[in-house]
């Protein structure tokens, strides 16, 4: 499903975030990418979503060379992915409902069906009662779950999460971990980058450890 071969990413300024990484993630897997900050976890995810391009090597997703994608084709790749960011990137000028609606709006989904899916996604993360609220009024954990609802509403084949439990307490993190596991159980390939080793260990999934831009194990 996802395969990296000899991927190196050097940022302008000379920082080498990844050095010759080769790995494969099969369809339906749930994988944790761990390592200290600066180990290249975020870069790994950004390469998968074509937010960054590899300096050398190739990144393939479902047989598509993501690194060589034409700019016009990038949106269509991203529609197959669900992205969860460290800083969540919620839009604070609109309601919870409208935030989750966004991925469906950009693909021109039929309105009634879209509303149904938005509610299903909100229900899944336990925010259905707050669909009319604005994101500012939500707690940190709720905001994170809102970001997750937005990432899954269009039923992506792959879910990429960067530090999804960033600043949440352990109990909350466990809940979110369970959420990811449930998506994985219905066939979604899940890749989670985290520095929270305890969180990763509790989930007992396959584990990719990065250290200074290289695979550690």
């Amino acid at each position: 499903m996802i395969s990296f071969s000899q991927v190196t990413k050097r940022y302008p300024g000379g920082l080498e975030a990844l050095r010759g990484v080769t790995l494969t993630i099969e369809a339906g897997e749930i994988v944790f990418v761990t390592g200290p900050s600066g180990a290249g976890k975020s870069t790994l995810l950004k390469l998968m979503a074509a937010i960054e391009r590899p300096t050398s090597g190739s990144v393939m997703i479902s047989g598509q060379n993501v690194g060589a994608l034409r700019p016009r084709a990038v949106p269509f790749l991203r529609r197959k992915l669900g992205l969860i960011f460290q800083d969540q990137k919620l839009l604070f000028d609109r309601s919870v409902f409208d935030n989750v609606m966004l991925p469906l709006a950009v693909t021109g989904f039929e309105r009634r069906e879209a509303a149904r899916r938005v509610r299903a996604a909100l229900d899944k993360v336990g925010l259905l009662a707050k669909e009319k609220a604005h994101p500012v009024r939500l707690s940190g954990g709720e905001q994170q779950r809102l970001a997750i609802a937005r990432a899954i509403v269009h039923r992506p084949a792959i879910l990429l999460a960067d530090e999804p439990t960033g600043n949440l307490d352990a109990a909350y993190a466990a809940g979110i971990g369970e959420l990811f596991r449930s998506f994985n159980q219905v066939g979604v390939t899940v890749v989670i980058a985290t520095h929270d080793e305890a969180f990763a260990a509790r989930m007992k999934p396959r584990h990719i450890a990065l250290k200074e831009g290289k695979l550690a194990r």
Binding site: A49, I51, R72, P75, F76, L77, R78, R79, L81, L83, F85, K89, L91, D93, L102, P103, A105, V106, T107, G108, E110, R111, R150
Partner: protein
């Protein structure tokens, strides 16, 4: 196809929402565009009214064709037939030399002088009303008739029409120049509005790109915004002109009474109004297109 429509209707709705959510800013932008467009359009209305006035004051251009003194009635008949058949002659009226002399006596008060003449010095003549009024075609007609046998002189009474036309042409050119300048102003205003919008919607654009929005999807509401703002500006300009002409007409009522004539200014016609609106909307669209192309590429998620 259905999705495509949804996209457009959605973009239009979002855009209208944005315009109405900041009513003061929208009002000011629309006013600036309206005033900028009202200046050249107002001058244009002034010119079309001047043209009307000129047409009502000035007589149609005409040609006087004088025949040779020795032209007989056969020659007169031949020339009359030729004139009548000529494609650019609308009407040709024969003025016989006796008739001309009578007219001269009656209109000038030179009866005594004329009576003392040994014979009638006037030639037979035709007064020709041409079909077209363009100076070039009039001159061409004059030169052509002048070469006919038994025609000694052709006089073109079109000097006045020509001067007027030249004057109005110059005025129209000035209006076009002005319109070009203000069209540029409209594009610039829209460019800047859209630039600010893109900056304030930076986050939204970034998120949209991250969840798979195409560039045209992101661009669309901005283009609609520019076009709608331009259209609203065009409507404002139209309203300004309409109000101006109405106010002037109100003032002209007194003048009409004094002169016992109906003096009324013409409003902008349906066709011109439609062009104004289409033009302003298109310029708004163009301004935002320039702005979007310039600024959207700078926003790439990192």
């Amino acid at each position: 196809m259905k999705t495509w429509w949804w996209h457009h209707i959605d973009a239009l709705r979002t855009t209208l929402g944005r315009l109405l959510r900041t009513p003061v800013a929208t009002l000011f932008n629309v006013s600036v565009i309206g005033v900028a467009l009202a200046l050249p359009v107002g001058l244009y209305v002034a010119i079309i009214n001047l043209e009307d006035l000129a047409r009502s004051l000035g007589s149609d251009p005409q040609l006087s064709v004088f025949l040779a003194l020795d032209a007989g009635s056969a020659d007169v008949k031949r020339i009359a037939a030729r004139l009548q058949q000529h494609p650019s002659v609308r009407e040709a009226r024969f003025v016989s030399r006796d008739e001309a002399l009578k007219e001269l006596k009656a209109s000038t008060g030179l009866a005594d002088v004329i009576d003392s003449l040994p014979g009638n010095p006037l030639p037979d003549a035709f007064v020709v009303l041409p079909r077209g009024t363009a100076p070039e075609s009039l001159e061409q007609l004059r030169d052509e008739i002048r070469r006919w046998p038994k025609v000694t002189h052709v006089q073109l009474d079109a000097e006045w029409a020509r001067r007027l036309e030249a004057g109005l042409r110059a005025a129209l050119l000035a209006v076009s120049l002005l319109a070009t300048l203000f069209a540029f102003a409209l594009v610039a205003v829209t460019f800047n509005t859209i630039r600010l919008q893109i900056l304030t919607r930076r986050e939204e654009i970034e998120v949209s790109k991250l969840i798979g929005a195409t560039d045209s999807f992101i661009r669309r509401p901005f283009l609609y915004y520019g076009a709608l703002q331009g259209l609203a500006g065009g409507l404002a300009a139209w309203a300004i002109i309409w109000a101006g002409v109405s106010i002037l007409n109100g003032a002209l009522v007194d003048l009409s009474r004094l002169y016992a004539a109906r003096i009324e200014l013409r409003h902008l016609g349906v066709e011109d109004s439609a062009s104004l609106l289409v033009f302003s909307a298109a310029l708004g669209w163009f301004g935002s297109w320039l702005s979007v192309n310039r600024h959207l590429a700078a926003i790439e998620p990192r």
